[in-house]
Amino acid sequence: MTTPQMIDPRGPRFGAAITTLLSLIAFYLSLSDSQLAYSTVVAIGVLFLWSVLSPRTHPAGLAFKRFIKPRIAPPKELEDARPPKFAQQVGLTFALFGIVGGLFAPVFVTISAAFILIAAFLNAFFGLCLGCQFYLVLRRVGVFR
């Protein structure tokens, strides 16, 4: 068992707040200007992919470290990086659903943005990480180890 990477749990929540804002814009736009909405979902997908591949260099993570962290108290508890990372992968899956589906019908962009919005909103404002909640359940049913 290797020692897992420990992170400040408020980092992912800050990232989720940004995702909330972006997906809110994407959802709103998808009901009026589908071209612009599609670009926004692509941007969200790129950000998700970025945090899956290289969380250390992610712009939201850097912004948190630079501007937010020095202004708030040190974390009470560090958190394992695996569940938030898994949650990012779930987010990426939803974004891909919108990106691929959007090529065929704009309604997929709306659905994708709505799912991302709800998940990110719950994470940012209630500390409820849907992906983390499903982590144990999915491991139990054997989706992954």
Binding site: Y28, L31, S32, E77, D80, F121, L122, F126, L128
Partner: protein, 146 residues
């Protein structure tokens, strides 16, 4: 107001209601009916590097944790404090990261999950998530913990 804005607000409202519901239920325990008794041998837990073979005199607290659980250490500290304060309470922790069969047996979907057992090791109360303040204490009092 146009329908686009209305729909966006409706979606946000849905998220808000979901979040408030979560906040309301998270960490709220419930009584456990049935008389399932914990089998300490099967659980095979260590405490201070010694196998746990007997229950607490009046009550036992069992915490299920995983290595990737962010809120488990805080709950562990709170429960260990309770054990320290009441001599007749035993606190044990089960790491289910690699023991998914345990998770399946107790139907654990989130960590931490805390069980309160009586002196015979029968499950009396269960909390999923971080227990709300005073819930565990209140259950211990019901079991006669001084």
């Amino acid at each position: 107001m146009d329908s686009t804005l209305l729909l966006t607000l409706a979606l946000l409202g849905f998220g808000l209601i979901a979040g408030l519901t979560y906040r309301f239920f998270h960490g709220r325990g419930h009584k456990v009916v049935g008389n399932e008794c914990i089998n300490l041998e099967k659980l095979g837990l260590l405490k201070n590097e010694l196998p746990v073979t007997s229950f607490g005199k009046t009550a036992t607290l069992v915490q299920f944790s995983t290595q990737y659980c962010g809120q488990c250490p805080g709950v562990r500290r709170a429960l260990a404090k309770l054990e320290y304060r009441h001599g007749d309470v035993l606190f044990i922790e089960a790491d289910i990261t690699e023991r998914l069969n345990l998770a399946a047996h107790f139907n654990i979907t989130q960590t931490p999950t805390v069980l309160v057992l009586n002196s015979e090791g029968v499950i009396k109360y269960r909390v999923g998530g971080v227990p709300k303040p005073r819930t565990i204490e209140a259950e211990l009092e019901k079991l006669g913990v001084k």
